[in-house]
Symmetry: C2
Subunit: 106 residues, 2 copies
Amino acid sequence: MPERNDEVVLDRLIHEPGRLAILTVLSSVNAADFVFLQRTTGLTKGNLSSHLTKLEQAGLVQIEKRFLHKKPNTNVAITMTGKARIANHWEQLEHLKNLSEGASRE
Amino acid sequence: MPERNDEVVLDRLIHEPGRLAILTVLSSVNAADFVFLQRTTGLTKGNLSSHLTKLEQAGLVQIEKRFLHKKPNTNVAITMTGKARIANHWEQLEHLKNLSEGASRE
DNA sequence: CGCATATGGTTTGCATCACAAACTTGTTTG
DNA sequence: CAAACAAGTTTGTGATGCAAACCATATGCG
């Protein structure tokens, strides 16, 4: 019994609150630096850091490190796939929510 | 450095996809049995079971077990708090999403 | 100079937890 | 009676999110 699953599929990588916040911010500004992201998402440095590397490995963001005014500056840009996936995720959530009106028994 | 956190707070207990699905369904139908929930959420019996006990312990649903036609029948009803928390969660998500339009630097 | 403090991160250790798989309990079927 | 089925529950474990510790560089200051 394969337990069908073609309805709503939430991507855990994106659904995780921290990453959801990061990607949502990035989906509007396209690129932002570490400090800005930390302020907007409310994440700690540590968590932001690890979430970012995870997102980078997944190819959802692109990270560039340089020095600006003698300080390290990490710039994070959302990729095409990143934009697509986060947009899709919001759609999935919308679908799920709509599942509450009209609880059909298929 | 307390790393401020008064913006959007996503409740992990509810945010978890499985539970989000369960609660969303229940928020519209108020009560449903195990089998129905399994069909609508697409979860396996095992996962559904553990998610349900977790939700029950948190007081978000109320579970009643009985026999119906000689078969075990688990009825799950959403509680007042459950309704409130899931509604609030959708609001939080809405807020987060809106954070993408108008990325204010406070 | 030498030490403290700040800034901008990264790494590590641990505790949680979601999932699949195995198990349970009772029922129906052959 | 032995399978097979139905409706759940329990268990084992790998993944992972979080906080705390750590690192590197810069600047303030006595």
